[in-house]
Structures are given as structure tokens and as C-alpha cells.
Amino acid sequence: MADLNVTFAGVPFKTPVVVASGTFGFGREYGEIFDLSRLGGICVKGLTLRPRLGNPPPRIAETPMGILNSVGLQNPGVDRFIEEELPYLKTLGTNIIANISGETVEEYAEMAEKLSDAGVDLIEVNISCPNVKAGGAAFGTSCDAAASVTRAVKRAARVPVMVKLTPNVTDIAEIARAVEDAGADAVSLINTLLGMRIDINTRRPVLKNNTGGLSGPAVFPVAVRMVWQVRRAVKIPICGMGGISTGEDAVEMMLAGADIVAVGTALFRDPFAAIRVTEGIVRYLDEHQIENVTEITGKVLLN
């Protein structure tokens, strides 16, 4: 069987398949359904310095082969996460990636410090949440802001730092270069595309928050394109995501340039999606007699 080991930003992953932040909570629920040690890693629900209740419901709307969500970073705050959730997560035998959002650069840095001390494997810096007013995507749409968050987190963190990019920009490669120059160890992309659905009978947006983030298979071709663009722009490794639901999708994303991939929304349709994606990658590698999954990253042959 093909070797799935990948060293990503210096961290060993036993498979290149992780689950995407916000779609997997802190692991407990899916842990009842399958063995979480089969995952390459878990990106936990986005954390903030203080607890957040998130946005009012409804927080989800269905779209053609996708969903909009407007959860708005509901979470118990970084301290309670470290106290109540991380000890459990550490027992799972998989990498734990802390996803952090701040309203200010200082908040990002403070969280990075706490989480480094607490011993997560990787920090994912979310500068791309479309569902919060302060911070969030505002940091992700400007090279300067993205770079300054990255620099601050890098100074504070003692574990590798991955910066999560938003697709809602004119030139994602430019932002990727800015965070690479600012010291990021890796980038992840894409976060959700900003979208809206309206109930034509009530005339009100389906989401109480009016707009939300689009994810799921619908966005897959956009995500592949962006991963490919970023691959050509930076040298640091990429965690590719956005609409992956099969092993074939994951292989496509890796050919475009992803070193590892994340599975998110697909879990809502198939709770075993991440496992099936992993199995699909193995099948592809074996059929094509590829020994190590790292051999396919970025290996698209342009026409």
C-alpha cells in the first residue's frame, strides 16, 4: 500500500487528510462514529480569545451542491478550549490544529502563545471568516493586514503557523506571498465564498445573519484554481480545501498543489467522508503505482 506520510510545515502527518475547521467541532461527536486516529489531523472549531455565542439561527442554508453557513465563531474561548477540550483531543493519536480568530493583531498573538504552551501541533490563523464583524476577513483581504497578523503570530508561536486565506479577493496569490514573506510556515485555502440566499415567500434572507459563507462541492473548481495559483506563487506548503468529497477530488487538489487536504462540508452528507477520501487516495496511488503521496503534489501538467 502507498505511503501516506507527509511532513507538513515540519509536522509529521500520517495521512494527508485532515478535517476542516468548524465542521468537526472538537472531535467528540464524530469520535462516536469512527476512529479519529485514522485522520491526519483535526482542525478544531475556530477559537477566539473570549467565549462567543456566535450568530443567531438560522445559520445554514442549502444551495446547489453546497451550503451557506453563518455560525460566526461560536466557541468557548481559548482558555476553556485548552482546559476542557485539548486534553481529550491529545489522546486521539492525530495532529491537533488550533484555528484562531482575533479582533486585533494582539488577540491573535495572545492566543498563539497560549496554544503553543498548551501544546497543539499547528496553529491555523483564520484571517478569512466572512461571518464576524470585527477582524475576520478584513485581515485577509489586504496584504498588509495579512502580513502583520502573520508576523505577530509568528513572534508569539512556538509551533508552526499556517495562515488560512479567503477566496473573496481579486488576487489570492498576492496575499499568499505577503503571508509567506511575513514568515508563515504554510497556508490553507480556501475559506468560504461570501453568498446569500433569500426565502422568496418571506422575502427575508434564509440566514438570520443575511449573508454567509459558501462551501461544499459547488466551490471545488474555484478552490482547485486558487490552490494552483498559490502553488505557483509561494514555496511554503499548502493545505488545500473547498468542496472535497472524494478521494479523486483530493488527488485533484494535490495535483494542483496541495501538500495536505482538508475535508469539511462533505461530512454533513457523509460522516465517513474523510475516511473515504483517504481510502480513495490510496486506491489512486496504488492503481497508478505511486509509492508516496507526496509525489503527486503540484504535479499537474499544464496544457
Binding site: 456566535g54 439561527p57 438560522p58 442549502e62 462540508t265 454533513f268 452528507r269 460522516p271
Partner: protein
């Protein structure tokens, strides 16, 4: 422990203009299912999200679901035929907390079906069932068989008592002796039931609805605002609910 399974459709029949009843063979779902729990059903290739439908009854290896045809997902379900299989995740959610004693079940519209299994599981139960109009009345015989007293009310008085469930509910609570009230229906009705129960100091459990993603508690989209000992919280309808203590819900 939810399972993901292919359940065999045994029967699909129409109960009213917009409501269907589906019988499934599925030991994995039917055996562990508790009253108030739900299942999360994949509705073909065209609908991305699963659809949550409450357990209406579970007997032996057979699961019964009753649903209203609202949009594309429930339309898909209504068009299934015996012999086909459905991809179902479940049973999910907490379900009603049933102790000893007599329960009063209060259902409104498509909120009525989930109470049937509760009626069958309770030591004893009465029911107040509200519908818009006579043609919308469903499952009356089943409730009469499973309950002591059953009052049917219609908003337009075309069948049973005239008006909402509020008056019959007040009356029956006044007669006393209920261990608790279990309610399912539109939010406005649940709120009214909660208030009436509070007036009568009867513990009330309500089954809430919210749009869902994962169905298992991981994605936090199905939020229900609650207060617990003064503190505000967002709880998950799919995992912490769908059944909540009425006094904990921020209406």
C-alpha cells in the same frame, strides 16, 4: 451511538393533502430509537443536505416516519417506493425524558407525529392535538389507541374543538395529575405551551426545530438560544436537543 445505514422502504402512503407516512425496515435504527429522537436522511443526488425527520414510531425492526411535503427533499421522500433503500444517519438527538406517571402530549400540525412514540412509551398519556383544519388531521386513531383522553382541536373549528390547543391544554392541566407535558409543533405554539405549563407549574419539555448541517453536534449551525442558571448559551438542537426543558429556551 448513531449509525449510518441503508434502510429498506416498506411502504409510503399519503395521510393528507401534504403529509406522508413512510415505513422502513431497519433494526439498526428502530431498536435503539427513543421517543423524540430523529433521523437524518439523504434525499437523492439533487439535495445536498440530509433532512431531519422525527421518529414517529419504532416497533421491533420497523421505523415509522411521518412528514410533510414542503420542498425538494420531502418531495423526494414522498416519491420513494417499497423496496428502495434510503441512506439514513441515526437515531440522533436526546429524545424526551420519560419518568413514571401520566404525561400530557401537546402537538401542533406536523409536530404531532413525534408524540405518538412518546404516547406508546409513557406509562400513561393524554393528548391535545391541534390542526389547521379538518383535512389536516392525522394519526387521530393511533393516538386514541395509545392514549387515555385525546382532544383534537382545529383552528377553524371544522373538526373537534374550535381554536388552538391553548384552551383544552389549560383545562386538562387544571384537572391536575400530570408528571409533565411533552410538546412539539410550531415555535409560537411551543412558547404558548411553555407559558401555560409554567402557570400550572408542570414540567414541560419541548421539541425544537432548526435547520441542520451535520446532525451530530459538530458544526454548530442548529443553534437554540437557552439560559441555564442565568447564563446565556447556544445549544445544539441536533445533539443537546431536539428536546429542551421549556424554561431553558429563550423564546
Amino acid at each position: 451511538m448513531p449509525v449510518l445505514t441503508l434502510a429498506a422502504v416498506r411502504d409510503v402512503r399519503q395521510l393528507s393533502a401534504s403529509v406522508w407516512k413512510m415505513t422502513l425496515y431497519s433494526p439498526e435504527l428502530a431498536r435503539p430509537a427513543k421517543p423524540g429522537q430523529f433521523v437524518h436522511i439523504k434525499c437523492g443526488e439533487g439535495n445536498f443536505l440530509r433532512r431531519p425527520i422525527s421518529v414517529c414510531n419504532a416497533q421491533g425492526d420497523t421505523l415509522t416516519l411521518v412528514f410533510e411535503r414542503k420542498g425538494a427533499g420531502t418531495r423526494y421522500l414522498s416519491e420513494r417506493r417499497a423496496g428502495e433503500k434510503l441512506d439514513i444517519l441515526g437515531p440522533l438527538g436526546n429524545g424526551f425524558e420519560l419518568r413514571k406517571g401520566r404525561y400530557l402530549l401537546v402537538g401542533g400540525g406536523i409536530g404531532v407525529p413525534p408524540l405518538l412514540y412518546a404516547a406508546k412509551s409513557a406509562e400513561s398519556a393524554d393528548a391535545v392535538l391541534g390542526f389547521r383544519t379538518k383535512d389536516a388531521v392525522i394519526l387521530e386513531d393511533e393516538f386514541r389507541a395509545a392514549c387515555g383522553e385525546v382532544t383534537v382541536a382545529t383552528d377553524d373549528g371544522s373538526y373537534g374543538t374550535y381554536g388552538t390547543i391553548a384552551a383544552p391544554l389549560r383545562e386538562m392541566l387544571a384537572s391536575g395529575g400530570y408528571a409533565g407535558v411533552l410538546a412539539c409543533g410550531p415555535r409560537a405554539m411551543l412558547r404558548a405551551v411553555a407559558e401555560i405549563c409554567a402557570e400550572h407549574s408542570v414540567p414541560c419539555q419541548v421539541s425544537m426545530e432548526e435547520r441542520m448541517g451535520c446532525g451530530v453536534g459538530a458544526c454548530l449551525v442548529c443553534a437554540c438560544k437557552t439560559r441555564e442558571g442565568g447564563a446565556r448559551a447556544m445549544r445544539r438542537v441536533c445533539k443537546d436537543g431536539p428536546v429542551f426543558w421549556a424554561e431553558e429556551v429563550c423564546w
